[in-house]
């Protein structure tokens, strides 16, 4: 009995210690941002590595998700004679929920895992230690630009995902199923509110961007410096980031709908 309580206590302390370390990492990365002259190019490099290189998967996924939602939605709406409402259905689903959530999940799988593996490998091959010994702070030089890169990339990726998904719905609804293009666009335009729908989706993506990048960087920076340690850390990044995205999505939606 005592042994079980001890184990539980030890696990609790480890958990709190991990949260503390993650908090310190985030605090250091935000409070010591890269300086303008040397740091800004590093942030741009990271926007390229995390954002631009994720574009293909985001755009292809966005296109197919928009097409599938349109196809499914059309067959339901047509039963009620409301097929002209296909545009608003897809646009609202994508802009409010699917866009931010699916983009963040894809970002966690594509860029988050790459970040963890990269930082873990830098640690295992003593690149971070050698940086420290050259009097260069790895938090400022390596972690901070990556955090800002993810933070900036995610909302932009979400906007691109939303745009491509709505275009996918247009292809299926108008070009394939023969809906009227004018009705499709005008119904969409009149139903989607910039402040209520689009901006709230973007706010979610900003939070997801910060959380996914934070988890990925923490897992990489505190991974065991071995090949098994890096692979475990990469797996943890994808699992923790995905669960955090889905959990936070509910909380944020409740806050936005409930008007908190």
């Amino acid at each position: 009995m005592i042994a079980q309580v001890t184990t539980l206590g030890r696990l609790g302390i480890k958990l709190l210690r991990d949260y503390g370390k993650a908090g310190i990492l985030l605090f250091s990365a935000i409070c010591y941002p890269p300086n303008i002259r040397k740091g800004l190019p590093l942030v741009f490099q990271q926007i390229y590595a995390e954002g631009v290189l994720s574009l293909l998967i985001i755009m292809v996924s966005g296109l197919f998700i928009g097409m599938v939602v349109a196809l499914q939605g059309y067959h339901t709406l047509v039963k009620f004679g409301a097929s002209q409402q296909l545009g608003p259905l897809v646009a609202l689903s994508v802009v409010r929920e699917l866009g931010p959530v699916v983009t963040a999940l894809l970002f966690a799988g594509r860029a988050g895992s790459a970040l963890t593996a990269e930082i873990g490998l830098m640690k295992a091959t003593e690149q971070l230690s050698s940086m420290e010994m050259m009097a260069v702070d790895p938090i400022r030089r390596v972690i901070s630009p990556r955090l800002w890169g993810g933070f900036i990339s995610m909302p932009i990726l979400t906007i691109i995902f939303n745009t491509v998904a709505i275009y996918g719905a247009y292809l299926v609804g108008v070009k394939w199923l023969g809906l009227d293009a004018g009705a499709f666009w005008s119904n969409t335009q009149s139903s989607v509110d910039f402040q209520e729908d689009i901006l709230k989706g973007i706010y979610k993506s900003i939070v997801f961007g910060l959380v996914v990048t934070w988890i990925a960087l923490y897992q990489g920076y505190h991974s065991m410096p071995t090949s098994a340690g890096i692979s475990n850390a990469t797996t943890r990044t994808v699992v923790y980031a995905s669960l955090s995205i889905l959990g936070l999505d509910f909380v944020l939606t409740a806050m936005m709908i409930g008007g908190w």
Binding site: K38, L121, T125, Q127, S129, S130, M133, A135, V136, R141
Partner: protein, 267 residues
């Protein structure tokens, strides 16, 4: 004699396992000091303690007259600019080529023009014989070349102290010869102070001025490279001569073989 580093009564533990139990070491300025010991004896940890990457549980490390572990972050980083460290794996940045790896500390800590940085980097690469390899990526280098590039990077800011972590491990005899020559030449030509951590006993003894041998958290031998071989301690003799059995036993701690076999057979 003037000492660049003084380690006094150092204690350090990792995961409740004691690594050092009261170690005293002095590193004389301008000399090559070798720190040797079996694998797992904490040699690399000692370099990390000198560099301020780890903090001792007791005792102090004084480098260039300053207690390393009482310094603020900024003071520690200023002190580190006067230290160069060559890591076991080289620690080269895999996304930068050889030239940019050597230029990295110069770009980070100076406002020199690109032309000046180019000249300095080429001079450092010339010293290690790799000026012609400046466009190669770290993945294209052999183990020995990686260490030479890392050495050029470690001396880029002209430090007072250079620390080598297992520079010879896994190297062929020619590369070993090259690295040994470089360590000696750079120490003498640039007026450096060198600490080299290794268990390649015979090779390191050819260049070291002073030797410390660590085992089980304590010093088991110290002295000049010529005299250390004459020390009578059995533990030291086993290490220096590479005997498979002795104070460090061949067999891992276990019950007797007979007892183990009988227990298995259920007799």
């Amino acid at each position: 004699m003037d000492n660049l580093v003084e380690i006094n009564h150092l204690h350090f533990s990792r995961n409740d396992r004691p690594i050092f139990r009261g170690v005293d070491i002095v590193i004389p300025r301008g000399k090559i000091t070798a720190i040797m010991g079996p694998s797992g004896s904490g040699k690399t940890t000692l370099l990390q303690l000198i560099g301020g990457q780890l903090t001792p549980s007791k005792g102090q490390v004084i480098a260039a007259g300053k207690n390393v572990h009482n310094l603020s972050n900024n003071e520690l980083y200023t002190l580190r600019k006067r230290m160069g460290m060559l890591f076991q794996s080289g620690g080269l940045f895999s996304h930068l080529d050889v030239f940019e790896n050597v230029a990295f500390p110069l770009r980070e800590h100076t406002n020199l023009s690109d032309e000046m940085i180019r000249s300095l980097v080429l001079l450092k690469l010339q010293m290690v014989g790799l000026r012609g390899a400046r466009h190669l990526m770290p993945s294209e280098l052999s183990g020995g070349m990686s260490r030479r590039v890392a050495l050029a990077r470690a001396i880029a800011l002209d430090p007072d102290l250079i620390m080598y972590d297992e520079p010879l491990s896994g190297q062929d005899p020619i590369t070993m010869g090259v690295l040994l020559k470089l360590m000696r030449t750079l120490n003498d030509a640039l007026g450096l102070t060198t600490i080299v951590v290794s268990h390649d006993v015979q090779e390191i003894l050819t260049i070291a001025d002073h030797v410390y041998v660590i085992a089980e958290g304590k010093l088991i031998g110290k002295g000049s490279a010529n005299l250390i071989n004459e020390d009578g301690s059995p533990q030291l003799q086993q290490f220096l001569n590479g005997w498979p059995d002795g104070p460090v036993p061949f067999h891992y701690k276990a019950v007797s073989l007979e007892q183990d076999i009988l227990e298995r057979s259920g007799l």
